[in-house]
């Protein structure tokens, strides 16, 4: 199974139309990867679908970087009993 980091990068690449190899953990979704507000909503939706979790919108949308998204999703998966590869 792919790791959380790999899956987060893959979803991010798909939504923002980027190459996943070019996405770094300290990339900001908005400043570095060019996510607009509508795409932020789409990212949250796609992360929920990818991991089968439900995230609080305010908390999810306050996550700024890819690395922090990995941490946040890992934490939510643990809270909601979803097994993931860290």
């Amino acid at each position: 199974m792919a790791t959380v980091e790999e899956r987060v990068k893959e979803v991010t690449a798909q939504v923002l139309k980027l190459d996943s190899d070019q996405i770094k953990l300290d990339d900001s979704f908005t400043a570095d990867l060019g996510a607009e507000s509508v795409q932020s909503i789409e990212l949250v939706a796609m992360f929920e679908e990818e991991f089968g979790i439900e995230m609080d919108e305010d908390a999810a949308l306050s996550v700024e970087t890819v690395g922090k998204a990995v941490d946040f999703i890992t934490q939510v998966c643990a809270e909601q009993g979803v097994d993931v590869e860290e």
Partner: protein, 427 residues
């Protein structure tokens, strides 16, 4: 005699959604004022109390002078309990006399006249138990009183109701300021321009086919045309509007573009061009420029509306526009399909295409699908901001009520979000 307005949770409340999600049914407007105003005036009641669904009781207390959900009011008087869906002008039951309960064909209480001596027989543990006892222990009669069945009945009867209310108000003439040049068509007996109203030059007021009542301190900007029957509420501003027949514009609204046979509650904005027809619009709504609704299908067949997001209800009318809940915000270029339902607090980004006919409460409709968007808290922040711009306050009790509505409407919203996700995944 104490008049009790009764709107408790039952199977038919949802016929008056999305507006009734945030207020009791008698607060719905038709003609000059609310259904409750008409019932109270018809009965001539001085002493009024009311019962509403628990989740809105605290909020409603802040908006009414009458006692809300106070069971003690049931114990000490002759009572007249009224279903708020009764058409006031048709109510012909004696308000005093021996106890009598009028039930419709489904067994719903349309009215209950309760003599003081009988109140002791009735449970006052809660309003539901009280009503159950009223039906079980007091003489029942069949009641065929005409009633409002659905929210669109109010739209479809609005023009007639305005004419009725104009006659009842008994006022005509010009007490406000009318700057020249202006054109007033029809009889001046069919026009009332209240004190404080400012009608700018180049306005047409056409009362040839029905009365026009412009309430206190409204402002009518140049190039507005107002056709009767029409009611323009207090402090409303008409901004070059093509205001066709049958409109009730609520207090403090700002209205431009073309509006026809629509009811708009207070504090709502339709500042710019765009057509709104046969629509019912809640409070604190903002319709962006070129927001337009269809109110007539291309094949002239009856319009259907989905009140629950699943089942289409035939309105029996070829003309029904949109039902737009409180605090809805639409972007520029939003296109509503014929008979659309837009739940309160929904935020709409138009796509250039007609939108789905059912948009749930608190939905963020973005890029053609229902999403969770930035969530409920962001919608509250927007509502708070919109209200503060008009010197009104968003309160915790208001928020608590909307929190309850958010929970009530969660299942259908989740389904719509899921559907949106599927669409998103296939793009």
């Amino acid at each position: 005699m104490k008049l009790i307005l009764l709107d408790i949770t039952n199977d038919t409340r949802c016929n008056f959604y999305p507006l009734a999600l945030g207020r009791p049914i008698w607060e719905l407007r038709c003609g000059f004022n609310s259904l409750g105003d008409k019932l109270i005036a018809k009965i001539g009641a001085k002493d009024v109390a009311c019962f509403v669904p628990d989740y809105m009781a605290d909020s409603y207390r802040t908006k009414t002078k009458y006692p809300v959900n106070d069971l003690t009011v049931l114990q000490v008087n002759d009572l007249l309990i009224l279903n708020p869906c009764i058409k006031a002008e048709s109510f012909d039951v004696a308000v005093s006399g021996p106890s009598e309960v009028g039930l419709d064909e489904q067994g719903n209480v349309m009215y209950a006249r309760i003599a003081k001596d009988d109140t002791g027989k009735l449970s006052t543990d809660n309003i539901e138990a009280f009503i159950a006892d009223v039906k079980a222990k007091l003489p029942n009669v069949k009641s065929a009183l005409p009633r409002w069945q659905y929210i669109w009945d109010l739209i479809l009867n609005n023009a007639e109701q305005i004419s009725t209310d104009f006659s009842a108000a008994g006022q005509h003439g010009i007490e406000g300021t009318v700057e020249q040049p202006n054109a007033i068509r029809g009889s001046k007996k069919d026009i009332y321009i209240a004190p404080g109203v400012m009608v700018h030059p180049m306005v047409v007021i056409d009362a040839e086919h029905g009365p026009v009542y412009i309430d206190n301190d409204a402002e009518i900007h140049p190039f507005t045309r107002i056709e009767g029957p029409c009611y323009v509420g207090k402090q409303a501003i008409m901004l070059g509007a093509k205001c066709r027949e049958g409109n009730s514009i609520g207090p403090l609204c700002r209205i431009g573009g073309e509006v026809e046979e629509s009811i708009i509650h207070g504090h709502s904005n339709k500042y710019h061009d765009g057509f709104l027809g046969h629509a019912y619009v809640g409070e604190w709504v903002n319709l962006g420029a070129f927001t337009t609704n269809s109110d007539l299908k291309n094949d002239y067949s009856n319009v259907s509306v989905m009140m629950d997001g699943r089942h289409a209800i035939d309105t029996g009318s070829v003309k029904v526009g949109s039902l737009i809940g409180d605090h809805v915000k639409t972007s520029i270029g939003t296109l509503f399909n014929t008979g659309s339902y837009v739940g309160p607090m929904a935020l709409i980004m138009g796509t250039g295409k007609p939108l789905p006919k059912y948009i749930p409460a608190f939905a963020w409709f973005i890029e053609g699908i229902v999403t969770k968007g930035f969530g409920k808290r962001k919608l509250y922040e927007t509502a708070k901001m919109a209200m503060s711009r008009r010197k009104s306050q968003w309160t915790q009790t208001e928020q608590d009520m909307w929190d309850a509505v958010f929970e009530m409407t969660a299942p259908i919203r989740k389904q719509a979000v899921k559907k949106g996700r599927r669409a998103m995944l296939t793009r």
